[in-house]
């Protein structure tokens, strides 16, 4: 037996005994999978039909057309049908995913997991993924519910009559506020835009020299920045307030923007990414007579575009969510998140609007992340901390 690795044939190694795990044969596995899938599909259909029938009866009871006693014996266990159907759908989805993976990528590398190990891993992944996404889906669902469904008992996760009332109510509430809604939006966009742009330029310049030149003090500076990764806004918040008030910047947007310029995470990621750029590129530019600034601006910056996007996402995430209540006091300078948090704090009556608010705030960072996900992962590949 001679194994093939890449293009080369390698003679078998006598001393190493490679145990092949016992596997179901392909054909038998396919049969088992098909039977299980058929069973699951049957469960889903049956549970669905029974649920619909019971729902219809319940509705009749509510309207008074049917007596409570006339309900079939399994009526109180409607929830079990629901959960059962959801579980069956989940398991079927895992099977489907697994089948797709096998079809797309039939050559699996060794050492391999057993088939059941694979299914276990994917099942776990699917369950955790659902758990992670559930609260987000839940907030979207809640924001689409009409008022009577928000206070329904027992509550349902998904709305039955989808409505955009909460969103239009939100705009009514906001237009009645002291300061027009657009003002908050402009404030946040301004802070986010200026803060991110400044951060990008300032931190990239510093990252460039830290990554590509060996000068006295550079390493020390970088190690301080790495330590500063651990400073949260809260630890530095109080002295920052005092410093800002000395600089007469309290109650201006600069109090939020300036610290964001120097965010350590951006410099850190940019520097690690720039280390991957070949030094020969810079030397060649030197020989051609380019100055440092020109090298930085026309050669380095275009190459590190993935890192830009990463800096942008971290910076936007930070600034977009800044409520800045500790440094900004005038209502007309407050941020969107602050205004929306006031609505969220509005209590029971504003529950639907609060859900709409949550959806609006979370959509922006998630959308940016989805759009730039590839480049971000490319940057993160160089994010490691060397000792």
């Amino acid at each position: 037996m001679s194994a093939k690795y890449g293009n080369k044939s390698i003679a078998p190694v006598d001393t190493v005994v490679i145990e092949q795990p016992q596997k179901l044969s392909r054909g038998r596995f396919a049969v088992v999978a098909l039977i299980v899938a058929a069973l699951l599909a049957a469960v889903i259909v049956a549970a669905g039909l029974r649920m619909d029938a019971l729902d219809a009866m319940m509705l009749q009871v509510e309207e008074g057309a049917l007596e409570q006693e006339a309900l079939p014996a399994d009526a109180p266990y409607l929830v079990f049908y629901r959960v059962g159907r959801a579980l069956a759908i989940g398991v079927l989805a895992v099977f489907a995913i697994y089948a797709i993976i096998r079809i797309i990528d039939p050559k699996r590398r060794r050492p391999n997991r057993s088939v059941w190990g694979d299914i276990g891993v994917y099942l776990l992944l699917a369950i955790v993924a659902v758990a992670m996404v559930f609260p987000l889906v839940f907030s979207v669902a809640a924001s689409l519910k009409p008022l009577d469904e928000l206070f329904r008992f027992p509550p349902r996760v998904f709305p039955q009559h989808v409505t955009l009332d909460n969103y239009s109510d939100l705009f009514v509430t906001l237009s009645q506020s002291w300061v027009p809604f657009s003002r908050y939006l402009v404030n946040t966009v301004l802070i986010t835009f200026v803060g991110t742009a400044g951060h990008l330029v300032v931190a990239s310049m510093a990252a460039f020299v830290l990554a590509k030149y060996d000068f006295p003090g550079g390493r020390l500076f970088f190690s301080i920045v790495v330590t500063a990764l651990m400073f949260s806004g809260y630890v530095t918040g109080i002295p920052n307030y005092i410093i800002m008030s000395r600089l007469k910047m309290i109650d201006t947007h600069w109090a939020v923007i300036l610290p964001a310029f120097a965010a350590p995470i951006g410099l850190f990621l940019m520097k690690q990414f720039m280390e991957g750029i070949p030094t020969a590129l810079i030397e060649a530019a030197h020989i051609d007579g380019a100055g440092e600034f020109r090298i930085f601006w026309t050669i380095i910056m275009p190459v590190v575009k993935p890192a830009w996007l990463t800096m942008i996402i971290f910076s936007v995430q930070n600034l977009w969510n800044a409520n800045a209540a500790t440094v900004i006091y005038s209502e007309s300078k407050k941020t969107l998140v602050y205004a929306l948090q006031q609505i969220q704090a509005g209590g029971v009556a504003r529950q639907g609007q609060a859900a709409a608010v949550t959806v609006i705030i979370m959509l922006v960072p998630i959308a940016i992340f989805i759009a730039s996900q590839n480049q971000i992962l490319e940057t993160m590949a160089s994010s490691g901390l060397k000792d």
Binding site: F215, Y234, P239, I361
Partner: protein, 312 residues
Amino acid sequence: MKFSMGKYMKLKQDNFRYGWDKAKRMKVCYLFLLPYAILFFAFYILPIMTSMYYSFTYYNILEPPKFIGLQNYINLILQDQVFLTAVKNTFVIAVITGPIGYILSFLFAWFINELPRWLRTIAVVVFYAPSIAANAFVIFAYIFQGDVYGYLNAFLMRFGFIDGPVLWLSDPKTIMPVLIVVILWMSMGTGFLSFVAGLQGVDKKMYEAGYVDGIRNRWQELYYITLPSMKPMLLFGAVMSITQAFNVCDVPRALAGYPSTDYAARTIVTHLFDYGFSRFEMGYASAIATVLFLVMILCNKAIQSMLRKVGT
């Protein structure tokens, strides 16, 4: 002795002169660094230093700071019962969510590593979304709501696990578990991204070589090949986890109220926030900040030395 001392001084002097010359030659580097360095100094280093200074003073913003020595720290440890609760809560949260969140981040990054590209993209978005979705965690306030309209209460009552609604967010006994669940939900953050990217970067040839050398299963592969080549990312992820685990503030404030029942959800940072921005006792708040900062640095050092031993 004298001779060697003189020689040592000479060496130091030469080193310094060499460094100085080099620095002069590389002036432009400092020019590039300057804008960042100024801002970084002003808003990150100076605050930590002033915070340490104010922690030895009584300072309420209106009057100039008055030096009172270690009094703040003494009060903090000996008199402030609430601070001790806060320390206890912070440590419970950090010890549970820090390691679990870290390990889960790695485990799930590892699991999704071999998925086809499109599926991996979806998985990354799904796992990372909670930590990027701003203050989406406030939605848990409805899930854990204390009346019968709360989803968890309704669900549990439906199945007969409980008779009446549980005040999840007001009962001191249930606040902490709820907070821990929510914080774990948000724990797949920057570290997770770093792990996903790092796993993609591990050289595939190493696995083939390892297989020939007798690695039998995925766990051995993980321990002998993957983890050692991921060490830089593991260190970075640890820093991020520690930062997140110790700086819990928004979640308890939004969910359990501020202040929470019986201070059951008080953490070091909410305590700091209380003294700094509600009572304006800046000196005392600075002492809290300094303690938190030192604890975090120590933790980081301990974990880094632990991670260095992985896979060796």
